[in-house]
């Protein structure tokens, strides 16, 4: 049987594991794909720096490797350029692509799918979202006969580690981030993780596939975790909740709302107990009801597992002249701006302890047509506090309400404002 020739672009944590597994499981992979899978080259920036992979496979010429006689290009470099150009070249030349590149897929999947379509090549990217967790294939194929209404998940391990640690130790954000960096859970430049860019890319990919439409990272409303304070964590705990950075994709009529932000969820919610570097994603569909997928969201071996699953599929398609799924964006749904998205807010206020405070605060809510679900007043001294949880209302109305409440004479300080998810509204 003619082998399927594979070029590997990138050889960091994930690439090294891909090379190892291709070697160790060669017989199994060949049996499953229907032909041997042969690694013909590995493109890296500095070939002399990679000692743990076969030296004769290494090259600094990625473009040359892509142009060589290969059937499949596996990309684990990340970032937009030069990867975008390399993968477009591969697809245009009829070479199938397996990629773990969330940033690129969240920006350019339309362009990449178009190139794949023209030449009949395959484009797979299970590893781009939630590492080892099978998510894109179930959403795209297993639920193809259903109508997905909501996807909500923890899809970034670094922020989940930091928020879990803040919850456990009571330490503030910057201390915890520092500790996370020291332990290797956060990168030297943690911006992509802590500011929610990574999660936003994944949310865009999930929304595109779940709702059969095209959503890019720019369409995703994004708030990171750097504004989460110890006071927020305490406020959440007091209410039996915990704070997680969530990626939320919703179908609302003929539009989609896609957002990434920290939110309070009940401690009894299955996502609440997802700790450390684990990922978990809830999916709600009309017929299937509620589903959850849980597993390791990052790391060399788990991500390599997802890459190899795609590689076997691509290879089998080559052997049997099959085709993988193409872009499914027929629904072409509008993206709803965050201001129109209905959410719930939690609000914790330091107020003057005098009669009429609640009345004045409640009046502001009423004025903005925001319905209050629960109020708790605490303290009868100078340091009184008022905790309010709202029913679902448009985000813009909630924002204006908070702004106006903050300006009330009786309100000393807005201690914590946080969206609330995972409960009936």
């Amino acid at each position: 049987m003619k082998p399927i020739k594979v070029a590997l672009l990138g050889c960091g944590t994930v690439g090294t594991q891909v090379v190892r597994l291709l070697d160790e499981q060669a017989d199994d992979l060949a049996a499953r794909a229907g032909a041997p899978i042969e690694l013909t080259g590995i493109a890296v920036r500095r070939p002399d720096r990679h000692r743990d992979v076969p030296k004769d496979l290494l090259t600094a010429d990625a473009a040359g490797l892509v142009a060589s006689d290969v059937d499949v290009v596996v990309e684990v470099i990340g970032g937009i350029e030069p990867v975008r150009t390399l993968l477009l070249d591969a697809l245009r030349a009829g070479k199938s692509v397996v990629s773990a590149n969330k940033a690129l897929l969240a920006e350019s999947s339309g362009e990449l799918f178009a190139a794949a379509d023209e030449s009949g090549a395959d484009l797979y990217f299970e590893a781009a979202v939630a590492g080892a967790i099978p998510l894109l294939r179930p959403l795209r194929e297993s639920l193809a006969g259903d109508r997905i209404t909501r996807v909500m998940g923890i899809v970034n391990g670094t922020t989940n580690y930091i928020l879990s640690a803040m919850d456990e130790t009571g330490a503030n954000y910057s201390e915890t981030l520092e500790e996370a960096s020291r332990l290797g859970y956060a990168e030297a430049d943690p911006t992509a993780d802590v500011d929610g860019y990574d999660a936003a890319s994944k949310a865009a990919i999930l929304a595109s596939i779940a709702f059969h439409t095209r959503v890019t990272a720019n369409d995703v409303y994004r708030e990171g975790i750097s504004a989460v304070t110890s006071a927020d964590i305490v406020a959440a705990r007091t209410l039996g909740r915990t704070i997680k950075l969530l990626a939320i994709c919703e179908r609302v009529g003929d539009s989609v709302a896609v957002r990434v932000h920290p939110a309070m969820i009940p401690r009894s919610h299955p996502l609440a107990s997802v700790g450390g570097a684990f990922n978990a994603v809830f999916v709600e569909a009309e017929a299937a009801g509620q589903l959850m997928f849980y597993g390791q969201g990052a790391g060399g071996a788990p991500t390599a597992s997802a890459v190899l699953g795609d590689l076997v599929a691509v290879a089998r398609n080559r052997v049997h002249s099959g085709r993988g799924p193409r872009e499914s964006a027929y629904a072409a749904l509008e993206v709803r701006p965050i201001g129109q998205v209905r959410t719930r807010y939690h609000l914790s206020l330091d107020v003057a302890d005098r009669a009429g405070v609640l009345a004045s605060v409640a009046a502001v809510f009423a004025e903005h047509d925001v319905s209050i679900a629960a109020v708790r007043q605490e303290g009868r001294t100078a340091d009184a506090s008022l905790v309010i949880v709202t029913h679902a209302a448009p985000d813009a109305a909630l924002k204006s309400t908070v702004d106006k409440v903050a300006g009330l004479p009786a309100v000393r300080e807005v201690v914590s404002v946080m969206r609330v998810e995972g409960e009936e509204s």
Copy 2:
């Protein structure tokens, strides 16, 4: 675009939902499959009894419907015959089959796949295991590049409902079963569920796919829940554990062990909180690590969701001249008898409260080469009890140990014997 013609065999809870969704989501399904999906007939035993589906589609002649001009046969009847013959006829005639029939697939998947292979038809059966939860596709495709080592899950809703209720109310097995029947959670004849036959079929299907081998229901070691007592439940609770009916598929060297039995798991284990009619399956793979899949394991709409996902895949394969996955049984692993499977036991004994009891009991364990992990003695009166949890040992050795311990003069009664899962051994 030429429509894909579909015959539906059976129209009970699941079939009715399939008909509804085919109608309500016709446009979406057509867009995803690449062609309209047209239901051309529904075979039922008594056409006059079905008022909630289009009358002109109903027929009592299943064989005639299968032989008619259709592309796909969807089967939601259940049981072995006449379904086996109908589906073999369909596959031999090149018609693709989507089935939710765990009993048939656990017995005859080899024969069915062979017929599919000969004619080039597809055979899909996601709905046969764990209802709406995407499980077979992830195991077969997403993890195709990995080496699955273990699959452990709650795959039967009826028994999970009964065990959860026993745990909550303290009621005994027969009372709880009666209540479950009254509420519609157990069938009039609950044998298939409570004796573990249903779970064993699902375990056989999971093991076959996870380990690329052929396992039939007869290969599965099976114990139901009818012997679980209130004393077992109390014993579990005392140790911070709960009892679940588990389907466990393990790869051990070049063999597989597949078993269904009640077992104690720690209350902190994610499977412990899976209540009522929900299903959840843990998967361990070498590279991916630990994954969990959770959702509704039964019911009309959830099962119909899985059926329709398969139907879209089959239809798309027809449109694009593709082929779905065939049987992957290249590994041809031996099935290890239960006696050789390494498990852990929990043992709760009523013993005479005198010196030397523990010594005599421990001697029996030592004699059978079974290592004790923990012992607790309670009571200094006539009613002393001894609770023992072992390390992993061959099941046969554990059984012999229990038999011999039961015959010791100092042992009044063996109150509870239960395997222990979900912890490091």
